[in-house]
């Protein structure tokens, strides 16, 4: 018994010793799990570890969870770099949980599009990839590629149209865009709801998760769905003929940002990591693997990849970012209004 205790004490102190030692060269970050995390590792984390000799601990946590942890750990933050896709950095920066970033310390910052580094000094980290919401369509069923959001209202498509519930983040952005082209804005979503009512009456289908979109395309003769650019690629990998088109009225986008957590010992290393994420090589790799839009103007993509996403000066010009703070503030009311609209 005594020996056992002794051994465990020794092991424990040894463990603590290594942690204390490792801390100098260790980063803790979050990623989003699944295919995303795989690509994150392959494109950024592993190359970064090899270049710097640092160790990166990856915690799988979606934006909202990660943000909740950041808030809970206010006095003793445990993450060095946090990735958000829902605009959490705006709130985090205003609450002082995220540290301002000096653009001069990021070697790649100069090449990043302005919109993706709008408030570095305020603490909102740079966007390193963008999920663009546009029109995912069946290239065999549609005689020509859709070109604008109002194409969704084409009566010929209604029976083959798949809408996504706004409890889904991309569904929300697609809906807000539909609302906008129908004359609404963030203070008035009624035009969008009216359009949804009209589409549903004409035979459109609503799903609540992305795998259901695939199911609709595979089994139920779906032709068109407002959704994220990466999903057309997912469908194609499942051997469904599909393409992605940006609507002429604009492309709502979900920014995935890399943020520097305030009050951590390793901020210089963390900055290097963020710098890696906005490098052309990392973004090319990400676009190749998942079809997210790069934010670095120097990222070069093959034409095959480029066709799937919003790419280049022209491609990203039409990107729209609906204010995440306004969406958050209205979410409860909007979801209820939406549920009432779609209920039969």
């Amino acid at each position: 018994m005594k020996i056992a205790i002794k051994t465990s004490v020794i092991t424990l102190s040894a463990l603590m010793g290594t942690t204390a030692f490792a801390q100098d060269n260790t980063l803790t970050i979050n990623s989003f799990g699944g295919a995303y995390e795989d690509a994150h590792r392959a494109c950024i984390i592993t190359p970064f570890e090899e270049e710097t000799g640092a160790t990166v601990n990856v915690v799988t946590a979606y934006s909202a969870d990660a943000f909740a942890q950041l808030r809970a750990q206010k006095d003793a933050p445990q993450f060095d770099v946090l990735h958000f896709s829902g605009g959490q950095e705006i709130v985090g920066a205003s609450e002082g949980l995220l540290a301002p970033i000096d653009a001069a310390k990021l070697t790649n910052a100069a090449d990043v599009y302005d919109f993706a580094k709008a408030n570095l000094a305020g603490g909102e980290g740079p966007a390193y990839s963008i999920a663009a919401i546009g029109l995912v369509y069946n290239t065999e069923a549609l005689p020509e590629a859709p070109s604008k959001w109002t194409d969704l209202l084409n009566p010929d498509y209604s029976e083959h149209l798949v809408l996504t519930d706004i409890s889904n983040g991309y569904g929300m952005l697609g809906f807000l865009m539909l609302n906008q082209v129908q004359g609404g804005d963030l203070s008035n979503i009624q035009p969008g709801l009216d359009a949804v009512t009209q589409l549903l009456d004409a035979g459109a289908i609503i799903v609540s998760t992305s795998p259901e979109i695939q199911q609709e395309f595979a089994q139920n003769d779906a032709w068109i769905a407002p959704y994220a650019s990466d999903y057309a690629y997912t469908l194609r990998k499942a051997e469904l003929p599909s393409g992605f088109a940006q609507g002429a009225e604009g492309t709502p986008a979900s920014y995935i940002t890399a943020n520097l957590v305030a009050g951590r010992p390793n901020m210089d290393l963390a900055l290097k990591f963020i710098d890696k994420e906005i490098s052309p090589a990392a973004q090319e790799c990400f676009a190749e693997a998942l079809r997210y839009s790069p934010t670095n103007s120097k990222a070069e993509l093959s034409s095959e990849v480029a066709a799937d996403i919003a790419y280049g000066e022209d491609g990203v010009k039409g990107l729209i970012r609906f204010d995440p703070a306004t969406i958050e503030a209205n979410r409860t009311a909007w979801v209820e209004a939406w549920n009432k609209t779609i209920a039969r």
Partner: protein
């Protein structure tokens, strides 16, 4: 250690589990349902009961549960009667057949229905080929789909409840009725049916309460557009997220089911214990 402490000790794990897994969550739900930003409030209940949208969901839940229960009884009663009257070997096979659906996971079973009922599924395709329905006809995401899926799940509960009662009915009663000049249907109606009533009531109660609170099958087969109360509770928790309102809805569902239990206890209590 006397007998009393011994039996108490034996019952302790069960009691603990009941307190931990049942009374505590229910109590918490009750508290949550009346808690608002400024202390105790009934506003969540008012919001539910004054909104036609939510009343519609409640009504759909009750209506669908009734329909499902009636269909289960209509299928289950004759089935149970036959099962009671055939030989023991055949009865065993029938029982196995009836409870077989319960042996697969509810999700898998529901996905099976999704394959059959979807727009390009077997059943709509067949109806379309026969020219009975239009091109866009689908059974998925309709109330009919919910009823079909739920009846399959709940039929065993109804059949087995009735079977237990019918096997205990003395076969000579029926023979007596027949020799006194009753036709088969008459003896069925005047002898078997009244005697089997406790079983039918018990089965109906099971079916009704289970279908009123079911979530997976209605949600998958009905889709997001056809909401029942359980789905609405789920949405309130995960989407908005509004826990007190979800708790209020859960209390309403709970109270509704308790209300159904009262007449049952009155109806069957004194006679059958």
């Amino acid at each position: 250690m006397n007998d009393r402490t011994e039996s108490l000790l034996l019952a302790l794990p069960g009691l603990l589990l009941l307190v931990l897994a049942f009374f505590m969550p229910i109590g918490q739900m009750l508290i949550l349902s009346v808690s608002g930003p400024d202390g105790v409030t009934l506003s969540h209940f008012v919001r539910f009961l004054s909104d036609p949208f939510y009343l519609g969901i409640l009504w759909r839940t009750v209506r669908l549960s009734l329909v499902i229960t009636i269909i289960c009884a209509a299928i289950g009663f004759p089935l149970a009667y036959i099962m009671a009257r055939v030989g023991p070997k055949l009865r065993l096979w029938l029982v196995v057949m009836v409870i077989l659906p319960l042996m697969t996971s509810v999700v898998v079973r529901t996905f099976g229905w999704m394959v059959l009922l979807s727009r390009s599924g077997m059943i709509p395709e067949m109806l379309r080929d026969m020219g009975l329905v239009g091109r866009s006809f689908a059974l998925m995401q309709t109330e009919a789909a919910i009823v079909i899926g739920m009846v399959q799940v709940l039929l065993p509960f109804m059949t087995l409840s009735i079977l237990g009662v019918i096997t205990r009915i003395d076969g000579r009663l029926e023979e007596a009725a027949r020799t006194m000049g009753c036709s088969f249907l008459q003896s069925f109606r005047t002898v078997v049916l009244p005697l089997a009533l406790p079983g039918i009531v018990a089965g109906s109660l099971l079916c009704f309460t289970l279908s009123a609170s079911s979530f997976v099958t209605p949600n998958l087969l009905g889709g997001t557009r056809i909401q029942v109360l359980a789905a609405s509770i789920y949405k309130s928790v995960t989407q908005t997220p509004d826990w007190p309102f979800a708790a209020a809805q859960a209390v309403i569902l709970f109270a509704g089911i308790l209300l159904v239990l009262v007449p049952y206890i009155k109806m069957t209590g004194p006679k059958d214990g």
